[in-house]
């Protein structure tokens, strides 16, 4: 669009070309509105209309301001939440691990061999042949079999003794599962030392026939009580730690140091 510029307004000294053009456009707008160019001087152009626009502009500015404030607030909240979330995730993870460890202790303590060992620790022995009471319809009771007190020794531990050079991991005392009364290893030793019927190991490492000393009733050892001073989780469940010198090398050297940024999930995948 070309504008016919009056010669009087051409290239006034002290004004840049851009400013010159702006003045031209202003006078043009004034002409279109039917005002004299002089009225535009002193910024009095459409004064009434400007005044009527002030509330609108103020509203827009206020809206923008509120919008920015809300955005800021939400961003801050989101950041705060993400911190809380990651903290909660970490807490959840630690609880999951704790649960797994506790579960392991429960399963171990609940297993038949562990219960048998606990019973052996209390000096309990298998009943063997039992007599049975048969209650007839008229209420009379008949004893079937001869009730005789069980004798003998508590059962020997089920598990074979490990090799002498075995490297079996013992978990750390004070780990989440520390409530379990005693490691089974200790119980095993009690039974083997204190009871007459161990699962014996001959010189050649083979289990030899062992003798049952009839009538010997074992007494629980003082040290075998559950409040013994060895609060550690059950030992044998910890899987064997591979002999360290025989560890296979990883496929490729990892380049992320423990302290460096790692992907947030799955955790520990790289470290």
């Amino acid at each position: 669009m070309t504008v016919k510029v009056p010669p009087s307004q051409r290239r006034q000294p002290g004004r840049s070309t851009a400013a010159q053009r702006a003045y031209q456009r202003r006078s043009q707008r004034a002409a279109q509105l039917g005002l004299s160019p002089t009225e535009t001087r002193g910024r009095r152009l459409g004064g009434g209309r400007v005044r009527t626009r002030i509330p609108f502009v103020a509203t827009i500015i206020a809206l923008l301001g509120v919008g920015m404030a809300v955005t800021l607030l939400l961003t801050t909240r989101a950041t705060e939440d993400s911190y809380e979330l990651s903290a909660a995730r970490a807490y959840n993870e630690s609880l999951t691990q704790k649960r797994a460890v506790l579960q392991r202790d429960v399963e171990t303590g609940n297993s038949a061999p562990a219960l048998a060992l606990a019973a052996a620790r209390l000096g309990m022995i298998p009943a063997g042949q039992v007599a049975r009471l048969v209650v007839a319809e008229d209420g009379s009771v008949q004893v079937v079999g001869d009730p005789v007190p069980a004798q003998g020794a508590p059962p020997a531990p089920l598990d074979p003794p490990a090799r002498a050079d075995a490297r079996i991991q013992t978990p750390l005392a004070g780990s989440p599962g520390a409530e379990s009364p005693r490691p089974l290893e200790d119980v095993r030793e009690d039974v083997q030392e204190g009871q007459p019927r161990p699962r014996s190991v001959g010189d050649d490492g083979r289990r030899a026939a062992s003798t049952v000393e009839e009538g010997q009733t074992p007494a629980p050892e003082p040290g075998a009580t559950p409040e013994g001073p060895a609060p550690a989780p059950a030992a044998p469940v910890a899987e064997q730690s591979t002999i360290v010198s025989e560890l296979p090398q990883p496929e490729a050297p990892r380049s992320i140091a423990p302290g460096q940024t790692v992907p947030p999930e799955p955790e520990d995948g790289l470290r």
Partner: protein, 633 residues
């Protein structure tokens, strides 16, 4: 191209130093080329600029078009990282849901010796209050050793920490809580997820369950044979990583979630298994046998309730940590043996089924019998004795059994062996199962039929032997035994193992008659009515069973040994309302299973069956109407 040419055009807008024509004139006016003048420099400079621009364009084309694919692939391979999300291995549980093997997430402790030592030196240079490198490494080694004990000797750890490797594993299978404590204290130690397989019962049912190797996959037993079901499928995801190790946002892709392995529920009963395992071990030691094994089947379903052999290893301490003589296999399915007199029940069943005898028929049994040139004697010398059919089996007379077998005939007998499942794998679901050895009918020689009815000349596994008695207990219908009850998918969907089709072997009446006849084995008497397995009797219950004594092969003379025997026993409890079938084998014992004289496995049957009857509160049997007549006085 345009943006590059723009700055060159721009100076032209400014007032040019000299019009083009002037410059040209200056050059020509001098008559010779002015090598120092501006026009010359301008032209040369422009040529150099254009030349450089041309080179840049060529290189750009080469990089952007020619080398682009290979370069971008190289870049992608540098920044692409694939994360493996390990699947959790399924649990192996007994019939009540008590786990025999399950997986727990643990940690492996990792370390980067070269890098960390350098970092430690740099950090100490900035802050001298920090520990020196040797102090720090010693602290790490001490902490790990204290936590893990003998599995992680301090010297080995220090060797690793001071090595020149870029990456080492300091320990594996560490309790997550323990690992967290170590890493909290020494943040240069890293952790890596590593699943460990836990066996809460130790050696409980280890002969069945087996063990996994260091890679978490099955090594032996069901862990190996069902590895595909248990293992699951690892998931993975891919992301891009900057040179500083930071994840490039939005680059996660190809995410495949891990599919956890299915769990397996066995038909085993943990408590019973423990008792059987304990008693088998005890029997082995008391009897002086080379080995002992026992199988307990549910009489009506054929499910394996317990299966054990002595000397089983303990998978919870790691296969390699077991004593060298620990038994890694499962003898009850892998080791066939000659069953001896236990096999006579097939002759009894066939003879009763075909109406060739009755329990009360009196047979005049001589001291020996000759069949097709082979002379077979009874285990004790006697003249002609009037045994009832019941007595032939109750006293385990070889001669009497062969007399009945002759009535049955070779073909029918061969058919019965087949119907009872001998010479065929039971397909119980355990690895390494043997089919035993049964000579096929065509290969029978003259002496074969003199041997098979008395349980020599053929071999079977203990499971097969027990399954024969399951047939009798289950009113003549053989249900092939199985040990996997169901698989439970990662989504909890349960798939029951289909019950094998039952095989009708004999009629229910025959089965009941045979059960009743074989009560004679455990019948005690001071006179002639005493059976061979009185040690198996349980007061208040009717017990039906059979003892067996089979001669082993002496490798020196390649003949049947007269000193080493397979001592077997198979029995049904209670005989009037069968619930359990127990099979026992002692390999070359010198005493009975309870340490008493003679060689008998009957006391072990009594221990196991009595425990079961008591545990399950099985009602007492009705008193039999009369005592069985074994021998006419």
């Amino acid at each position: 191209m345009t943006d590059r040419s723009t700055p060159r055009r721009a100076p032209r807008r400014r007032p040019a130093p000299a019009p083009r024509g002037v410059r040209a004139r200056t050059t020509t006016r001098s008559g010779k080329r002015d090598r120092t003048g501006f026009p010359y420099r301008n032209r040369v400079g422009r040529a150099v600029m254009f030349g450089a621009l041309g080179l840049a364009v060529l290189q750009l084309l080469s990089v952007q078009l020619v080398q682009a694919p290979s370069l971008s692939a190289e870049a992608a391979s540098q920044r692409t990282t694939r994360l493996v999300e390990p699947a959790t291995r399924g649990t192996i549980a007994d019939r009540n849901g008590n786990p025999l093997a399950y997986t727990m997430e643990a940690k492996a402790l990792t370390f980067q010796p070269v890098r960390v030592r350098k970092e430690l030196e740099e950090e100490r240079a900035k802050d001298p209050s920090l520990p020196t490198v040797p102090e720090y490494l010693d602290g790490v080694a001490t902490a790990i050793h204290d936590a893990l004990g003998a599995a992680a000797p301090k010297e080995d750890l220090l060797d690793l920490l001071e090595s020149d490797e870029t990456f080492v594993y300091l320990a594996r299978g560490v309790d997550p809580g323990v690992a967290a404590e170590i890493v909290d204290e020494y943040d240069k130690v890293g952790t890596e997820r590593q699943d460990i397989r836990l066996y809460p019962g130790g050696s409980l049912a280890a002969n069945i369950v087996g063990a996994t190797g260091w890679d978490g996959h099955g090594l032996i037993g069901l862990e190996a044979s069902m590895d595909a079901i248990l293992a699951g499928t690892d998931g993975s995801s891919t992301y891009d990583r900057g040179s500083d190790g930071a994840v490039i946002p939005g680059s996660w892709r190809d995410r495949q979630p891990a599919v956890d392995g299915s769990s397996v529920e066995l038909t085993i009963d943990n408590d019973l298994q423990y008792h059987v395992q304990q008693e088998v071990q005890r029997a082995k030691e008391l009897s002086g046998a080379r080995s002992a094994s026992a199988v307990v089947l549910d009489a009506l379903t054929g499910e394996v309730l317990a299966m054990s052999n002595d000397g089983t290893f303990d998978p919870s301490i790691g296969v390699a940590n077991n004593p060298p003589d620990a038994e890694m296999g499962n003898l009850a399915v892998s080791s066939p043996f000659e069953p001896g007199s236990v096999n006579k029940i097939i002759t009894a069943a066939a003879a009763i089924e075909d109406g060739l005898t009755t329990p009360d028929e009196v047979l005049q049994v001589p001291g020996s019998i000759t069949m097709a040139g082979a002379t077979v004697k009874d285990a004790w010398d006697h003249g002609v004795v009037p045994y009832t059919t019941t007595g032939v089996f109750g006293k385990s007379s070889n001669v009497g059994t062969l007399m009945l077998a002759q009535r049955i005939g070779e073909d029918r007998f061969a058919q019965m062996l087949d119907l009872f499942g001998l010479g065929q794998r039971t397909e119980v679901g355990l690895p390494g199962e043997s089919a035993g050895l049964l000579p096929s009918r065509e290969q029978w020689s003259g002496g074969t039929f003199a041997n098979l009815p008395i349980g020599q000349g053929l071999s079977m596994t203990l499971l097969q032997m027990t399954a024969i008695y399951q047939t009798i207990a289950n009113d003549g219908e053989r249900i092939p035994p199985r040990i996997v009850r169901a698989t439970i998918g990662p989504d909890g969907s349960r798939t029951e193992t289909p019950v094998p089709d039952p095989i009708r072997v004999i009629s229910p009446q025959t089965a009941a008659t045979v059960r009743d006849m074989f009560r004679s084995v455990v019948q005690d008497d001071t006179g002639n009515q005493r059976g061979t397995g009185t040690g198996a009797a349980i007061e208040g219950y009717q017990i039906s069973g059979k003892t067996g004594t089979a001669q082993q092969i002496d490798p020196n003379c390649k003949c049947y040994s007269n000193s080493e025997y397979w001592i077997t026993f198979a029995g049904i409890a209670p005989a009037d309302d069968p619930r359990y079938v127990v099979g026992i084998m002692l390999d070359a014992p010198t005493r009975s299973s309870d340490g008493s004289g003679g060689q008998s496995a009957a006391p072990l049957f009594r221990t196991i069956a009595s425990w079961l009857l008591q545990r399950d509160a099985v009602p007492l049997s009705t008193e039999p109407e009369s005592r069985l007549i074994l021998q006419i006085d």
